[in-house]
């Protein structure tokens, strides 16, 4: 994996807003209406090409396919994993899991969720988990084509960690179920790395499950579960060279108050046990920007890379490049310039129908990211 040896490299979290016409085609497919498979496949291919071109234009060094073909950063597996079926919501069940932040600000969240798309019904596992390789092969093919002739430092593809697949009604234990999912997703991880891309594992749950514990549990108890989680991620990553993997955590991309977020400090050591070379962590939004202080005490292990968010997905206001630079400088001072890659807090489009900021503004933010990295590089080199 390339690191910032001569200047601060830039990247982001992966998902980018889908073009409106592609979004409509995906909507048709999802609502069970007839749709033109070939036209959809072709539009995904051209959208990936556009996304790559725009990233390059904005000055992004380590680009993604924008997850253009995926329904959602986690729900995309509905089309790839066998052994699952959708289930209807139970009476009174909200499509979103209850969280303590929601309980703290019920009026806000009741209103807010109404403005947010819900993309897929919950899944239940009712049979042995299997993995269908065609879809990732298409992702890889599309991305490779899009990268032809593009001037990038590197290319990465996100994939979900094995914890987002709904309820188990088939395996005798939760552990057996998660292991089966991990084994299935291992094939996807392997395929991405075999294709020559950097693999990004998306695992927001490492910190966000904290907020979903109702009633709250102790940090010690939470850490015990989080440690098991990390073990399972490492199981899914077995045999994959560490230097081809980056691991992304975040605190959930919704624009809420986030007062019950777990402090990074409480989970950072566990994060660093994931067999990845780079760690992508939120660091630009109002709830987590101060957490660079964590690195005053915690040493980034030799050879590792930190990808702090220096641009937030949480606001339409475009970060001033000077602010981006300031944020990068803090990290460079603490962990060393060559160990920092400038990133974004979270994706801009966790689902095909989601846009955390308006699409054109997302591009302006990525430009600002590159400008800020250039400013920081001037000072650091």
């Amino acid at each position: 994996m390339k690191r910032s040896t001569e200047r601060i490299l830039t990247t982001h979290v992966g998902s980018l807003v889908r073009p409106p016409d592609l979004r409509e085609m995906i909507r048709a497919r999802e609502s069970g209406n007839p749709y033109d498979r070939e036209a959809l496949a072709a539009r995904v291919r051209s959208a990936v090409a556009e996304a790559v071109r725009k990233q390059v234009e904005c000055g992004i060094d380590i680009v993604s396919d924008g997850e253009q073909g995926k329904l959602g950063f986690n729900t995309y597996t509905n089309q790839r994993l066998g052994g699952f079926e959708p289930r209807a919501l139970r009476p009174g069940e909200h499509p979103r899991p209850r969280r303590r932040d929601w309980d703290a600000f019920p009026e806000f969240y009741d209103e807010y969720w109404q403005t947010q798309p819900v993309t897929a019904p919950p899944q239940v596992c009712t049979g042995a988990v299997t993995y269908e390789r065609d879809a990732v092969a298409t992702d890889i093919q599309n991305f490779k084509e899009a990268l032809q002739g593009a001037r990038v430092e590197e290319a990465f593809m996100p994939a979900i960690a094995p914890f987002y697949q709904g309820e188990n009604r088939f395996y005798p234990t939760e552990q057996a179920f998660l292991t089966a999912v991990a084994d299935a997703l291992h094939e996807e991880y392997q395929a991405i790395v075999d294709a020559g891309f950097i693999l990004q594992i998306d695992d927001p749950g490492l910190p966000t499950q904290w907020d979903a514990q109702i009633p709250a549990i102790s940090v010690a108890e939470y850490r015990k579960r989080a440690a098991q989680r990390v073990e399972l991620v490492n199981h899914a990553l077995r045999g994959i060279p560490e230097e081809r993997v980056r691991y992304h955590i975040c605190w959930g991309s919704w624009h809420g108050p986030h007062v019950t977020d777990l402090p990074l400090r409480d989970v950072v050591d566990l994060m660093l046990q994931v067999r990845a070379q780079a760690y992508s962590v939120e660091a630009a939004n109002p709830r987590h920007e101060h957490e660079y202080h964590v690195w005053e005490d915690v040493k980034l292990p030799e050879g590792k890379i930190l990808i702090p968010g220096v641009i937030a997905h949480t606001t339409n206001t475009v970060e001033h490049p000077e602010l981006v630079k300031e944020r990068i400088m803090r990290y460079a001072r603490l962990v060393g310039r060559e160990n920092v890659i400038a990133g974004v807090d979270c994706g801009f489009a966790q689902g095909a129908f989601t846009a955390r900021v308006h699409p054109t503004i997302a591009w302006a933010k990525l430009k600002s990211l590159a400008e800020g990295a250039a400013l920081a590089s001037q000072e650091l080199w």
Binding site: H258, T315, H320
Partner: protein, 380 residues
């Protein structure tokens, strides 16, 4: 004006969320439908008492009346001044930054702001008693509580030159001084009642983006220098130590990438006869500008009120982030010269809460906690 002599004091930009029932009454009133004047006045009075209590509970040191009775921080003058009317069907204001992003849909506009203000005749007083009502409500609300200090916001002549379409006076200069001559009485009344006066001058910064996008920086500087002169004319005779001067770049969650830089206007801002300069410092477009004060010396005795809470996002700032921001300012202007504030108001228009009301109170709490953390470091 009190300053942070023993610990970092906290404040905000003045406007706060209106309770839903008051807002309903205000909607009826603003639509010129018949409404119960006594009931409205009574509800404003009790709402002011509530928001004072809530500010104290949140740990705010320098409190306001929340502008509970006003439909907006600037357009309230239509009910107080002659010569200014609210007219429908006017061309809306253009935000030049938003024009660059055609797919950007700004958050819902204020329903109360569907009319633009137009100056159609000589400006004078229609309701000079309104500010006395504000004062009386605030005084009543402050009975039995002891904030460090209390302030009432009032709009600047320059902001009215930005927001009001002038069809009467021969040029902006004439309009500015006509407003200054009249509004100075409101300013004086606030100070005479023992309150700090906060002058709201968003125009001095946001004007570049919404009114003068086509002007060069030099031209814009000339315009705002003239506006500051008119403001100083209105402030003549008022001790600067009683005045805080709030500047902002507009409270909308837009891209803001065309905002004029603080460093390009700071010298003009410092000419205002105000003991405190109050600027945004928390949002992503202006979070770096504390560094401006490395090079710019704050005049002796002046207080800097810095935004350490963003009023455009529902994320609640972590108190440690608040502390970091305060520390930055303290490092460049000295701890005793910093008061922690919010970037802008939480109810700039009565009916537009970008930040949910319950969240705005939690943000003020986070600010107070952050100020405490910073104070521990700064006075250790």
């Amino acid at each position: 004006m009190k300053r942070s002599t023993e610990r970092i004091l906290t404040t905000h930009a003045g406007s706060l969320a209106r309770p839903p029932d008051l807002l309903e009454m205000m909607r009826v009133k603003e639509l010129d439908q018949p409404y119960d004047k006594a009931a409205f006045a009574g509800r404003v009075r009790s709402a002011v008492a509530e928001v004072v209590r809530q500010q104290i509970d949140a740990g705010v040191d320098v409190v306001s009346d929340g502008e509970e009775g006003k439909p907006g921080f600037a357009n309230y003058v239509k009910d107080r001044l002659t010569g200014i009317v609210a007219r429908e069907g006017m061309r809306p204001r253009i935000f030049s930054d938003r024009a660059d992003f055609p797919d950007f849909q700004p958050p819902a506009a204020s329903a109360l702001g569907f009319r633009r203000l137009v100056c159609t005749g000589p400006i004078g007083w229609k309701d000079k008693g309104a500010v006395q009502t504000d004062i009386a409500n605030f005084q009543a609300a402050l009975q039995g509580v002891q904030p460090a200090e209390a302030f009432i916001p009032a709009v600047s002549p320059g902001t009215l030159a930005q927001n009001v379409v002038n069809e009467y006076y021969k040029d902006e200069e004439a309009f500015l001084y006509a407003v200054a001559e009249v509004m100075k009485e409101e300013y004086q009344a606030i100070v005479q009642a023992g309150f700090l006066l906060q002058i709201d001058s968003p125009d001095l910064a946001m004007g570049k983006n919404v009114q003068f996008a086509d002007k060069t920086l030099e031209e814009f500087r000339t315009i705002i220098a003239r506006r500051v002169e008119a403001l100083n004319h209105a402030l003549a005779g008022i001790p600067p130590a009683q005045v805080r001067h709030h500047i902002c770049w507009g409270n909308g969650e837009g891209p803001h990438h065309k905002d004029v830089a603080l460093k390009d206007i700071i010298d003009i801002l410092l000419r205002a006869r105000a003991g405190a300069l109050y600027v945004e410092g928390a949002n992503p477009r202006h979070g770096h500008e504390w560094k401006v004060f490395r090079d710019v010396q704050l005049p002796d005795g002046m207080v800097l009120i810095a935004g350490v809470i963003d009023t455009k996002t529902n994320f609640i700032e972590h108190p440690e982030l608040v502390a970091d921001r305060i520390m930055n300012y303290a490092s460049v202007v000295g701890r005793e010269n910093v008061i922690a504030g919010t970037d802008c108001g939480f109810g700039t228009s009565a009916d537009r809460d970008r930040v949910a009301p319950s969240i705005s109170w939690a943000k003020l709490k986070a600010m107070a906690e952050g100020a405490q953390l910073a104070s521990q470091q700064l006075w250790s």
